[in-house]
């Protein structure tokens, strides 16, 4: 991230207090969002979201696996975010690991719900093929290509779009299942089942600069923030989670 002079910082703060940010947005206006789906043909679902200069890609891969012994009627979903070094020089090597872990944990909590499964955006029981024996494992990967602030919102949007684009292949199970034997499964190449993504929430991050809150901060505005709150809301308007985001606050204090 390029540094900012005292004069520029003052200008940014003044703009936010006067409701006119650097690119002339209001405090509560988002940058134009561009979403493309189906960009990775090898994956079962993928999407790319561009929010100003922030560019993220999400991909969904489904593999057959064995369900957890404690939850035999549920499939498994794993969300993992990787901050690519092309996004910022500080992400090179292990630099981006802290941010990646924070983003992954935050997204898992929002989309998969709490420990008991309450508030999950995706119903894991829809992923089971043969109870106790075969289930789908979904691997959702997020990749940050270019970072200009507001990564959490962009990633949540990308994951939602990727899941809506995902087609899980239809599976035919062979009839006999005796005891512990693994049943034979036939993965169809032609028929796919679409996901119901209406329950997946959307995340909105509010960043506090001075005395006001702004939405969709650029990385320059994020460097001036004192704190941020991310709220994930689903279609029914239920607040799933309030995350006191220390992600960028930690970054901002590091720079000082």
């Amino acid at each position: 991230m390029v540094g900012l002079s005292v004069g520029e910082k003052h200008f940014i703060q003044g703009g936010i207090s006067q409701d006119l940010r650097l690119d002339c947005r209001k405090r509560l206006t988002y940058r134009p969002i561009y979403v493309e789906t189906g960009i990775i043909p090898q994956a079962h679902g993928s999407a790319r979201v561009r929010l100003g200069a922030t560019d993220v890609i999400a991909s969904v891969k489904a593999e057959l696996g064995k369900p957890n012994a404690l939850q035999p009627d549920k499939g498994k979903i794993a969300i993992f975010v990787d901050c690519s070094p092309t996004a910022a020089p500080m992400f090179e090597g292990r630099g981006g690991e802290e941010l990646s872990t924070e983003l992954s944990v935050a997204l898992e909590r929002c989309i998969l719900g709490g420990k008991s499964g309450a508030g999950a955006g995706i119903d894991p029981t829809s992923l089971v093929v043969v109870e106790g024996k075969v289930c789908w494992d979904l691997y959702v990967d997020g990749l940050v290509i270019s970072s200009d602030g507001n990564l959490l919102d962009a990633l949540a949007a990308a994951i939602k779009a990727a899941l809506s684009n995902t087609g899980i292949p239809k599976v035919d199970v062979a009839a006999e299942m005796t005891g512990d034997e693994q049943p034979e499964v036939n993965i169809s190449d032609e028929e796919f089942l679409q996901f119901d993504t209406s329950g997946i929430p959307v995340i909105v991050t509010l960043t506090k600069v001075g005395k006001q809150y702004i939405v969709d901060a650029t990385s320059e505005e994020e460097s001036q923030m004192t704190s941020a709150v991310s709220v994930s809301v689903n279609r029914k308007g239920h607040l799933i989670n309030k995350l006191d985001s220390e992600i960028a606050a930690a970054e901002a204090s590091e720079e000082e």
């Binding site: 004069g7 003052h10 003044g14 006119l20 650097l22």
Partner: protein, 321 residues
Amino acid sequence: MRGLQLPLSQTQRTRLQRAFEKLQSLSSKANSDASVTVADTIPVNYEDAFLKGHGTTELNGELVATVCGVVERINKLVYVRGLRARYKPEVGDIVVGRVVEVAQKRWRLEINFSQDAILMLSSMNMPDGIQRRRTALDELNMRSIFEENDVVCAEVRNFQHDGSLQLQARSQKYGKLEKGQLLIIDPYLVKKSKSHFHHLEQFGIDLILGRNGFIWVGEHVETRDSMVVDKPNSSEQSMVLEERNQTHTPLEMRQNICRVANAVRVLSTLGFSMDADLIMETVELSSSLKIDIHDMLGSEFHVLVAEREAERRSLMGKRRR
């Protein structure tokens, strides 16, 4: 044109396409023949002696381009000038840079060049305006003049023997830039012109077009003559610092700064050369059509600007004939 990252409707796409075609047909024929991409053969008369310059190589007895750009011929030298390259400095250019380091008796500035440029302490006017030898105390107080991450406007003085750049900021119009925003565009869009400092009177805004692609848009700052007696200045300066912490730029000026900044962004997305007149025209176009400042970054305004530019150039061409 590099793929525009704009959502264009079908009509907008056709209008934009037509405007670009018009502009291309209006550009001089010689130039359009001279653009090459990698591995294109450069048309050269092989009987004449010629020198192979940057961006060319001899392959199988033919002169082939190694970069995408425009072929330039100067006397016997044939070279390919890349377009989206880093800034190529010339002596006397005005540049805007950001301080990355405060070193011994000098500041290092980042100016989108292959190396950091150097601004010597001796090439900088002292705040009290007196011409004198720089003492050790001056060296220790360098941070009171420029700190890290400050935005500075300076002029290219010369090249060092190792290829690095030396800058100077001796005149009052150079120096620290505050109360505004810095925009970064491609260096090839800023052509050399008579003046790079523009004071937009009707807005009260300073517009500095750095040749390295850094554009500064900010509140107008009066350039004071350093010869004027300075005692009242020092008290004024400390008062200004306190004031600064309390007062912000007034809203109307901020709106004007935003409008100009957005005009620069639109022109750079479309790939048009930066020119104070062109920027002013774009701003006037937006205010005459009552376009909201934020909508200036939308696709409709981009298409309008492209069409207006095509019209303007065709009119200019007709006038010449």
